[in-house]
Amino acid sequence: MQLKARAMAGVLLAAGAFATPAAAQVAEFDTNHSLFHEAPAGSHMTVYSPATDLEVTPTEALTLRAGWEADVVSGASVAVKAGPTYQAAHVGADVVTSASVHDLRNSARGGFTLRRDIVSVTGGYNYSIENDYRSNSFNVSARTEPLERDTQLEIGYAHNFDDICNRVQAAGAPSTLTRALEDSTGCFTSSPLRATDHIGIDTFEGSWSQAWTPTFVTQLIYTAQVTDGFQSDPYRSVVIAEGIKAQEHVPNDRTRQSVTLKANFYLRPIRAALRFSLRGYEDTWGIQSATGEVEFEKYLGESFRLLVRGRAYDQTGALFWSDDYSGGDAPLGPKGQYWTGDRELSPFWSWLGGVRGIYTVTPAHGRLLGIMSRMKVGLSFDMQGFNYSQFTLGGAPVSNAYAYIGGLSLAALF
């Protein structure tokens, strides 16, 4: 289990820049379905994520929204992690093991936006539950559009009150003697074998969007987040010495910040847009990353638009990352009081390529089926490849490190 997505507590800042709801549009219904699959050596994971959202704008001053989404997770993840030094001392042994994973996350959300002149205020709430994790989060944001609406400024804040299931450890046991959670049986009940740890997440975001010319806009976003609580994968153990494996142990506090610059150019002669995005990130665990993304979207006819995109991502590892805490020469060996088997905390880079097509049906007269003013269907596919420079499975590089993401979306405007 990972905390990163949990950490993305809702601050809706980027959506809807330079677009306002059409006065005649009363309601919008969206349903989105994505399928994620990866099967690198040592693990495999498939996640199906359906989502449904309804947004109603009864007056120009008010929008109400409600939604539901789920993650249906199936696969196997690394349960016990060891590195090449340990493997070399145990030739023939399977020092890296996997465990099957089945989980279902359900999430319900609701919110509102109030508008007056050039100012809008948005609030929202999200409740999410899965076998081993519960999340309550609220978010608020305020936006203004001064300078004849060529400029948009927005600030937002969100807070998560989350709970994570853990194994009851022996009283007073040092972290080197903690044992991993076997499964989610008994979680969030009065079971004497289960404990509940708490996580608080504060997220701040500010953005500045600017229309520079009729065909050129930019957006600058600053995001900061403070997380306090149990952030390890409770199911994962790491071999930290001969004969000793302990539950993954990472710091309880993590502060993160990122700056993102986006730029959109419209290429009028070919009715297409070229979009660029650059992001720099750092956190107190020592991870620094850079992300670059380019998208090209073009109209093919009046109703169909095709998008092609590419993305590159590069990160350093956490300060306490090591591929083998049981020994070896640097960069192997113990790294202070923490240990992790999470490949997302190791240094790596990745690439992504994808396409998306969206077909919009807008009736010239009247409404579709008598009720819809517009309908939209979208299909997308992305492929991602990972290159881990240090993470291994007992010394064996992670082969077949590819992920595939498919998406289907349907929207109807009433």
Binding site: A14, S34, S49, D103, R105, V217, S380, I405
Partner: protein
């Protein structure tokens, strides 16, 4: 190589130019058709994009800038 010295007032002037520049820019209402086009939005498909970012963030050590809503993980 010696870098040219920069006085505080020059820095302040540069900052004022940077902050004040948007005030010099005006895209008139009748010129906004392209800006309102879905292909020029920073997030024209927010729900679908949120799902994609959710999947990407779960495989990386960083986050931010995408403005997606959250609550729970489902990533394991």
């Amino acid at each position: 190589m010696k870098l040219p010295s920069v006085r505080p007032c020059q820095l302040l002037f540069a900052a004022l130019v940077l902050v004040g520049a948007p005030a010099c820019v005006t895209v008139r209402a009748q010129q906004r058709a392209v800006l309102a086009d879905p292909v020029m939005q920073f997030d024209s498909e927010p729900h679908a994009e949120a799902q994609r970012v959710h999947a990407l963030d779960n495989r990386e050590g960083s986050f931010g800038g995408s403005g997606v809503t959250g609550g729970g993980c489902g990533c394991n």
